[in-house]
């Protein structure tokens, strides 16, 4: 098989030695990435499970905590991520069509969006820090208790909302940082011309990962920010 001249011609440098052909390599990469994303679903799933249970038990505190988040920044961040998924999808298409410069631009844009998201998240966290809503020794929700006298906030339950808020957005942000790092590598290699219409698997796989991180946010946003935005009775 390895003696066949046809096989030698099709064997580009990106085909790894243990694969029979490029198609097998691509299929393997694709299945691998989807399985990895399944593990990520289970990973975040544990926290979502904790969130759902505590929200059911401590709805009032969760609602109050949710209202204390900045919905404008949250919405902007959601838009930022959706745009970044667009640039990623367009980037995959650019790679498919062999448009190297366009691909590089789109990847860079994605990274910019990523950084924008992280920056806004940083601002939000800083706000929480100023308001003493970070769980721990400086935690203080007297402001919320004052704001909602009719629903009697229990600070201990409020602390659980914020613990989950920081754990969930923190883990999400960590995945964003990893994603940005991956895309930096992808941008570099794209600029070097490594990705062609015949071989753009890493772009596709990186894209899958990015879309997943985006989807996690699409769930986090309503669960954390939109619990109860109706005016209080």
């Amino acid at each position: 098989m390895s003696d066949s001249p046809i096989a030698v011609e099709q064997h580009g440098p990106e085909l790894l030695h243990h694969f029979v052909d490029a198609e097998q390599q691509r299929d393997a990469a694709s299945l691998g990435m989807w399985l990895f994303l399944a593990t990520e679903v289970m990973f975040f799933g544990g926290m979502f499970c904790a969130y759902l249970i505590y929200r059911y038990w401590y709805y009032n505190e969760f609602a109050a905590g949710s209202r204390s988040l900045d919905i404008y920044l949250g919405t902007i961040n959601t838009a930022v991520l959706i745009c970044s998924s667009l640039t990623v999808a367009l980037g995959v298409r650019a790679a498919q069509m062999g448009k190297r410069k366009l691909l590089v631009v789109l990847l860079l844009l994605t990274i910019v969006f990523g950084f924008a998201f992280l920056a806004i998240k940083g601002v939000e966290w800083y706000d929480k820090y100023k308001e003493h809503h970070i769980p721990g020794n400086a935690f203080n929700v007297d402001d919320l208790v004052k704001d909602y006298p009719q629903i009697h906030i229990d600070p201990r339950h409020e602390q659980i909302y914020f613990s989950l808020y920081f754990a969930m957005t923190g883990l999400h942000a960590l995945h964003m940082i990893i994603g940005v790092g991956i895309f930096m590598f992808l941008t570099y290699y794209a600029w070097k011309g490594r990705y062609t219409p015949k071989y753009y698997t890493p772009i596709e796989m990186g894209g899958l990962y990015w879309h997943f991180v985006d989807i996690v946010w699409i769930y986090l946003f309503p669960l954390l920010y939109l619990i109860d935005r109706k005016p209080l009775r």
Binding site: W57, Q150, I151, H152, D154, R156
Partner: protein, 329 residues
């Protein structure tokens, strides 16, 4: 059996015999299965050991056999499940009218208080033949109240009550173990249950200087903490009337209906905003940190005493899952 080399735990409660019967059945079943399989293996290993000129016979399988040896074990398993479930149901359903003992586990001792008042540490005196219900909580980490001779065990959790019950059938002294690892002296958190003839038990009860019943000390605490200010005995109070509520359904302002059991009372004292009774405002002060576990037990006992002896559906109060919320994960 042998004095220093016992092989079977003593049976000292009404339920122990049922547990043992099921256990013996399972042992017999397992022994039978083991003998059957091991014998077959031995026979096959001998009959079909490798010999020159004799080839193995390639047998694909037999769906009929597979189905048979799936269905039959499944059937047996269902029998075991049902038998065990019935016993378990009985174990988790304290009978009406059981006398109550409040238990507080803490690292590394058991503190018990009879409803009649006497307190004990690491020891529980009970009379033969009486249903005893344990209402238990922990002051720190998870412990577990285990009396092998009674075949009962129940984890004891911080932040809520869990219950267990037994009826001792044999006078004697039996081990009490903590069976949920709880730190350094987990293996030292042991004690004994002393089962006495009824007459002896009465003597023991009145032996130590009594401090009054648990409910009585609860009543004086109720007054001390100012509870009657809002929980009046008429409808003018800012808080719900408490007499007669124990064991009955309560409608909450969000529409849910919960049973006013021990956990509900406890939660209402420690975290009143969790469940607001319909028609009332969430203004009750939070007593978390202001009352200790034993004081809570006394208050709960007092509020219970304000209701007539339970006469409703058997075991209703204990069927409610012991939790601070109306549902458990």
């Amino acid at each position: 059996m042998f004095d220093n080399f016992p092989l079977w735990p003593v049976r000292a409660s009404a339920g122990a015999g049922n547990v043992d019967a099921l256990y013996i059945f399972l042992v017999a079943l397992s022994a039978f299965m083991c003998v059957a399989i091991f014998t077959m293996i031995l026979v096959f290993a001998t009959m079909y050991r490798r010999r020159r000129g004799v080839e193995a016979e390639q047998i694909e399988g037999s769906s009929a056999l597979e189905i048979t040896w799936s269905i039959i074990p499944l059937g047996i398993f269902m029998v075991i499940f049902l038998w065990g479930a019935v016993i378990y149901f009985h174990e988790r359903t304290p009978p009406q009218g059981a006398s109550e003992v409040y238990v507080v586990g803490k690292q590394w001792m058991w503190k018990l208080q009879h409803e009649e008042g006497p307190r004990e540490i690491n020891e529980l005196h009970v009379p033969v033949g009486r249903d005893v219900k344990l209402i238990m909580t922990s002051q720190d980490v998870i412990h577990s109240f285990y009396v092998p001779a009674f075949r009962i065990k129940q984890d004891v959790l911080p932040g809520r009550y869990t219950t267990a019950w037994f009826r001792a059938t044999r006078p004697g002294v039996y081990h009490l173990f903590c069976s949920q690892y709880c730190g350094t002296m987990h293996s030292g958190m042991i004690g004994q249950v002393v089962v006495m003839e009824p007459a002896q038990y009465q003597a023991w009860l009145s032996g130590g200087g009594t401090t009054g019943s648990l409910a009585a000390s609860g009543e004086s605490l109720f007054q001390q903490l100012g509870c009657p200010t809002c929980h009046r005995s008429d409808t003018q109070g800012r808080g719900p009337i408490l007499s007669g509520i124990f064991g009955k359904p309560v409608q909450l302002e969000d529409g849910r209906i919960v049973i006013a059991d021990e956990n509900y009372i406890r939660e209402s004292i420690l975290s009143p905003s969790a469940k607001i009774v319909s028609g009332f405002k969430p203004i009750m002060p939070v007593f978390q940190g202001l009352v200790g576990e034993e004081q809570l037990n006394a208050l709960v006992a007092y509020i219970k005493s304000l209701s007539p002896a339970p006469s409703g559906a058997a075991g209703k109060t204990s069927l409610t899952p012991a939790g601070t919320r109306s549902q458990n994960p």
